[in-house]
């Protein structure tokens, strides 16, 4: 009986038996432990294919490695923090220092995530209830995310061409911008890139929110409806509170994704991009694969990870406190 389910889940929600100290939990633990091995296969692959390269990067970030030292990369001379200090503020072949790149990346990532939010929320909420054609609509919403990123970047490059591209023509016709405005050079390039990224990646957040919506027990909505709650009350008191966790995760992952997006700026702007879009992945790429400065590139990458881990840690400690005790 659904009634029974609700009271039982209430009970388990408030007092998880695992936390009850005493002999009962110990006996239970013996029952439970065997399943912990399920984590092993995934963890093993992860450790080998991500962990080891990561250790290599950290190691090489402390070494002096240039194009002529690649053969002996593991035993190259120690550079201590030399790589770190030279990459962070030193001149780069892109004409933009690493610190400046970080700032551009942060602004870009946050902007894209923030603007994606209302779009993603709307889309997920609007396809929650069944209607004819819902399956098709759900799939259509996925299309921007599914088209290869490199193609979208090229499409954007053509679309934003000054004088020739449709964006310029339409905006000029609507008198929102003068004809022949440059969208691919100068400060405008940042906005062109942001719009393209938002168009491409908002379905990511939408998918996570959609999955989160499915996790909400339907009886709660039914009960609320019966009790007279309209869509706003249902949204505000049932849906949104339960989506907060998923949303925080989606926002965090989305921001990380935008931050690390290399394909879009690289393909859309050709190489040696304008200053306003010189995001951090581009800087790392040019150091590693044009300059062959492997040590410096590793240092930049490690720094990249470090500065992203801090907000991630903050996010985790916030959500940890909010998790049901």
């Amino acid at each position: 009986m659904s009634v029974g389910l609700r009271t039982r889940s209430e009970r388990s929600g408030r007092v998880p038996s695992a936390q009850a100290p005493g002999g009962k939990s110990r006996a239970r633990r013996k029952h439970r432990e065997p399943a912990a091995w399920l984590v092993a296969p995934g963890a093993l692959f992860f450790l080998v294919l991500v962990g080891v390269p990561l250790v290599i990067i950290v190691w090489t970030s402390f070494l002096k490695i240039n194009v002529s030292d690649l053969r002996t990369w593991a035993t190259d001379p120690f550079a201590a923090l030399g790589n770190y200090s030279s990459t962070l503020t030193g001149p780069s072949v892109l004409g933009v220092t690493v610190l400046q790149s970080i700032w551009i990346s942060v602004r870009f990532a946050l902007l894209a995530s923030v603007v994606s939010t209302p779009i993603a929320f709307f889309a997920a909420l609007s396809v929650y209830h069944p209607f004819r054609g819902r399956a098709l609509l759900r799939s259509v919403y996925l299309v921007p995310y599914v088209i290869p990123g490199f193609v979208i970047a090229l499409l954007a490059q053509i679309a934003f061409l000054n004088s020739y591209g449709p964006v310029d023509k339409v905006l000029a016709a609507l008198h929102l911008a003068s004809a022949g405005t440059y969208w691919l050079i100068g400060p405008n390039a940042f906005w062109a890139m942001s719009v393209t990224e938002i168009w491409e990646v908002w379905p990511f957040m939408y998918l996570l929110l959609l999955a989160g919506l499915q996790a909400i027990p339907r009886e709660q909505l039914e009960a609320a409806t019966v009790d007279g709650a309209g869509w706003w009350a249902r949204l505000r008191y049932i849906v949104v509170p339960q989506l907060k966790g998923v949303y925080a995760l989606a926002f965090g992952l989305s921001t990380l994704y935008h931050f690390g997006n290399f394909t879009l700026p690289y393909v859309m702007f050709g190489s040696t991009p304008p200053d306003s879009v010189a995001v951090l992945p581009l800087n790392i790429y040019f150091q590693a694969f044009r300059g062959f400065e492997f040590g410096a590139a590793s240092a930049t990458a490690v720094f990249n990870i470090a500065i992203l881990v801090i907000p991630a840690a903050v996010y985790l400690s916030i959500t940890r406190r909010r998790r049901p005790a």
Binding site: W59, A74, P91, L94, G180, F269, R290
Partner: protein, 461 residues
């Protein structure tokens, strides 16, 4: 969060944690030692082996042509040695960079790499490729058989050659004969002054048409015309192998002229500041522009089926700076960079004689003629050039360009120089696009910043 009983938990954690750490260190150590497996068999044996060659992938309108050419070489190689070729494909300069880095760092990979001329300096600096002795050169037919200009990018000097040229793609200018005729011009410009006046004449004679075009936003193109002009003025990126000279007056003058095509002489569409090579070719194919600098023979094929298909002609690039009647002392014609691809043999390949045999097959006269017929690539040997000239007199401009080509600096820092120059060009384009006038002091400061970066790579050990 409740953990298991602490004592037991901590103990477990310690043990497993130590095991993980040990696994990491072991894996790291093994990876560092790397493997030095050679992919071809015993040194010296010529038959029954497999040679792996890393080269341009067949793609695009020339897909069938590439496959035909590769099949031809593979057959010729098999007839000569009894061994087979395994082709490994690159799709872009990026993946070539990656492949070279991987090979250098791990000591495994393809045996022979096809490397672009300007890039050879950086490749040689990895110390991962064989330097060719006089004996090795004899095995591929001797240095004397090659067009001398092509040998300049084979190595830093005669005793440290790492690459053998096998094909050449010289750069020339392309122009629209019909638009020229309408403006009363009968031949291609040979000086930059004529380039400007011809462009202006074409614009006057046909409305809605631009004299020329340029592509400052292209990832690969714009440094070439700038380099040409600088060389013609007697300048260079390096004054000596260890001294960068990126802020020389000659380079500044070259950049000024390049952009003056837009802001001063108005012979290029000002929308061009965001253009890449693709847009330039599109405009030319639609008959909207009359000249393209630094074009190649492949343009001919790309224009098939477009309105201008019968009107395109090629000529060597202008080689006298604007406003002058001859080059200053120390200036080079520099109509084209030494342009082509070289075969470099990786040091981990234990079977150098086999690789050299492959190179010899690729540079034989028959192969060079076949290469031209099928792919449109120019031969690199004098005998090959003579054979092709006899068969197709129309390639005269390309032959001249190849023989008069000037090498770019053979230096480990080439990648930085090229990227740095592209950055400066991009920044100048940005300035012009956002309404600022061309500022010589801005350009100078940009060049000085790049000079610092390049100099760092030349002097760091």
């Amino acid at each position: 969060m409740i953990f298991c009983d602490d004592a037991q938990g901590r103990g477990n954690r310690c043990r497993v944690g130590a095991a993980l750490l040990a696994a990491c260190v072991a894996a790291l150590g093994l990876a560092a030692c790397g493997s030095s497996s050679s992919s071809s068999g015993g040194a010296g044996r010529l038959s029954g082996q497999t040679l792996t060659v890393f080269t341009q992938a067949p793609y695009g309108t020339q897909l069938k042509d590439y496959e035909e050419y590769y099949a031809y070489i593979a057959n010729a190689f098999h007839r000569a040695t009894g061994s087979t070729i395994k082709w490994d494909y690159t799709t872009s300069t990026e993946s070539l960079s990656q492949a070279i880095e991987n090979a250098a760092a791990t000591g495994t990979g393809p045996d022979v790499f096809s490397v672009g001329s300007s890039f050879n300096g950086t490749v040689a600096a990895t110390n991962a490729f064989y330097t060719l002795s006089a004996q090795d050169w004899n095995q591929v037919g001797g240095q004397g058989q090659f067009v001398p200009a092509m040998l300049t990018e084979a190595g830093g000097n005669n005793s440290s050659d790492v690459g053998v040229p096998f094909e050449s793609i010289p750069f020339v200018m392309a122009y629209n004969k019909a638009l020229f005729a309408k403006a009363g011009i009968t031949s291609a410009p040979t000086t930059w002054s004529q380039w400007v006046s011809d462009g202006q004449a074409v614009q006057k004679a046909s409305a809605g048409v631009n004299g020329a075009s340029f592509s400052p936003s292209d990832p690969y193109g714009p440094w070439k015309p700038v380099w040409s002009y600088m060389e013609q003025l007697g300048g260079d990126f390096l004054t000596s192998p260890a001294k960068a000279d990126m802020d020389s007056p000659q380079l500044q003058a070259a950049l000024q002229f390049y952009f003056a095509q837009d802001f001063q002489y108005h012979i290029v569409p000002s929308a061009d500041l965001t253009w890449q090579g693709a847009q330039e070719e599109s405009a030319f194919a639609a008959g909207k522009t009359a000249m393209i600098a630094d074009s190649t023979y492949s343009l001919y094929q790309e224009l098939a089926g477009t309105p201008v298909q019968g009107d395109v002609a090629f000529a060597p690039m202008p080689n006298i700076p604007y406003g002058a009647s001859s080059r200053p002392a120390g200036g080079h014609p520099a109509e084209s960079i030494v342009s082509g691809n070289y075969y470099d043999v990786a040091k981990y390949d234990a079977n150098l004689p086999l690789a050299l045999k492959f190179i010899q097959v690729s540079t034989s006269v028959a192969a060079q003629v076949e290469q031209f017929k099928v792919m449109g690539w120019m031969p690199v040997t004098q005998a090959g050039v003579a054979a092709v000239e006899k068969a197709s007199p129309s390639v005269a401009s390309f032959v001249t360009a190849e023989e008069n080509s000037t090498p770019t600096d053979f230096t480990p820092a080439w990648s930085d120089i090229e990227t740095g120059l592209l950055t400066v060009i991009g920044h100048i384009a940005q300035q012009l696009a956002t309404g600022h006038p061309y500022s010589a002091s801005y350009v100078s400061s940009q060049l000085q910043a790049e000079n610092t970066v390049v100099q760092q790579h030349l002097t760091s050990p």
